[in-house]
Symmetry: C2
Subunit: 228 residues, 2 copies
DNA sequence: TATTTAGGTATACAACTGTTCACTAAAATA
DNA sequence: TATTTTAGTGAACAGTTGTATACCTAAATA
């Protein structure tokens, strides 16, 4: 997650107050096995299984840890799921930063964004696999968390477009509605991308093209949108 | 499924050939408990659980049948899932017929279609719950089946629009791309509709409005689309 | 240094899982 | 009517599940 030792949570700030140099090895190890658990869950889903079909014992087994150790980190499988949602949120925000940094040659900007996105999904396929799966299927609390994360993402995207002065004739509300649609479409496309047959470059190109056209439709609609 | 006795599959066509009047009570009963099994699965998912978290024994218990009886109908939970996908396909096609029959007052047609859809999702919430959940989460084979069903639906929709001479400047390919986007958006909306807090008319109205605007965006984009 | 804290292990338990098998009884066939 | 088929049963199986318990040991604290 973070390589900054200062980011490690500490329950008691230590009585000597300020400048406790670093809490040292205990919480480090804890954090590490926690990540092993999260990683294990993601690995088990790589074959295409949904999160809700995983069992606690499977996960601890994959993580190389005794079943009971699980409870030192999460009280529940659901809680682990929520942690995964949070990690996905970070991943998504990183994507946004990546696209933002790309500066726009406005002609091909949409297509190149799609290509960036496609590669990004492949690089982070474990997170997207989880998100795409749990979005509709997970427990209600996980579903809700994912939806909140998506809304967050859509809002950031809308704010970005506002700052870049794109589609300035749209109200902020309308911009958010549009970005919501884009996010939905992106998530759905992620699911398609992940299920692409491995070596089939033809199918991949086709899918990309469809995706580009769909986004183009949305942007075109936004451009000719009138008033509120 | 079908009330037509002639639709019942028969392995040996009977040697007396033609006009076997009706195979009678045995296959009727079989069909009935088969539907009990499908129903049981849908019922268990009503609380929000995903299909992949159901167990064979749970389903037979809910259906009021011994566990071993399951194998007389499906070899697998996966196979039952595929049967559910097929049932969903029928449901979707029924929806299309319903909307088609509505005849279009083209001004408010989009909004009224959305309302129709919303009610339809609520009426058939069990099927949509399953579809929305298994679309990303289920086993690979179920996911694939759902995707095929969605594509079918999108294509029928495109053909319908062609027949009604809507957006005549679009190529058939482009129409299909657009309908694909609409179907995706609809499916996502279904998930939102199902998770609506029960009595909240305000939230419902808001969601409907957002949904309408998103579709309007797509249609607007389609109207101003140029060439291939 | 002595004491406390807490991440992790091993073991045990009752509950549940998917699947098999021999069986019944009623319907379909000959 | 006699025979065969077959949807459904009930008991048994080996595995797996989630959770509780007592315990160990290294790090953190006093």
């Amino acid at each position: 997650m973070s390589t900054d030792p200062a980011a490690v949570a500490k329950k008691k700030p230590a009585r000597g107050s300020a400048s406790t140099p670093a809490t040292g090895k205990r919480s480090e190890r804890k954090q590490r096995t926690r990540e092993h658990l999260l990683d294990a869950a993601l690995s088990l889903m790589e074959a295409g299984r949904g999160f809700s079909s995983l069992s606690l014992r499977e996960i601890t087994r994959e993580a190389g840890v005794a079943p009971a150790a699980f409870y030192r980190h999460f009280s529940d499988l659901d809680e682990l799921g929520l942690a995964l949602v949070e990690a996905c949120g970070l991943t998504l925000r990183r994507l946004l930063r990546e696209v933002r940094r790309q500066e726009l040659p406005p002609t091909q900007m949409l297509r190149s964004s799609v290509v960036t996105y496609k590669d990004y999904v492949k690089d982070n396929h474990r997170y997207f696999r989880f998100a795409a799966g749990a979005r509709g299927g997970g427990s209600p609390s996980i579903r809700k968390a994912i939806r909140i994360e998506e809304a967050h993402f859509a809002n950031e995207m809308a704010q970005d477009m506002r700052d870049l002065n794109m589609l300035p004739h749209l109200s902020m509300d309308m911009l958010q509605v549009m970005c919501g649609l884009v996010v939905t479409t992106m998530m759905n496309a992620a699911s398609d991308i992940l299920d692409l047959p491995a070596g089939n470059a033809q199918a991949e190109k086709e899918m990309t093209e469809t995706f580009v056209m769909q986004l183009r439709l949305v942007f075109l609609g936004a451009r000719s949108w009138l008033s509120s």
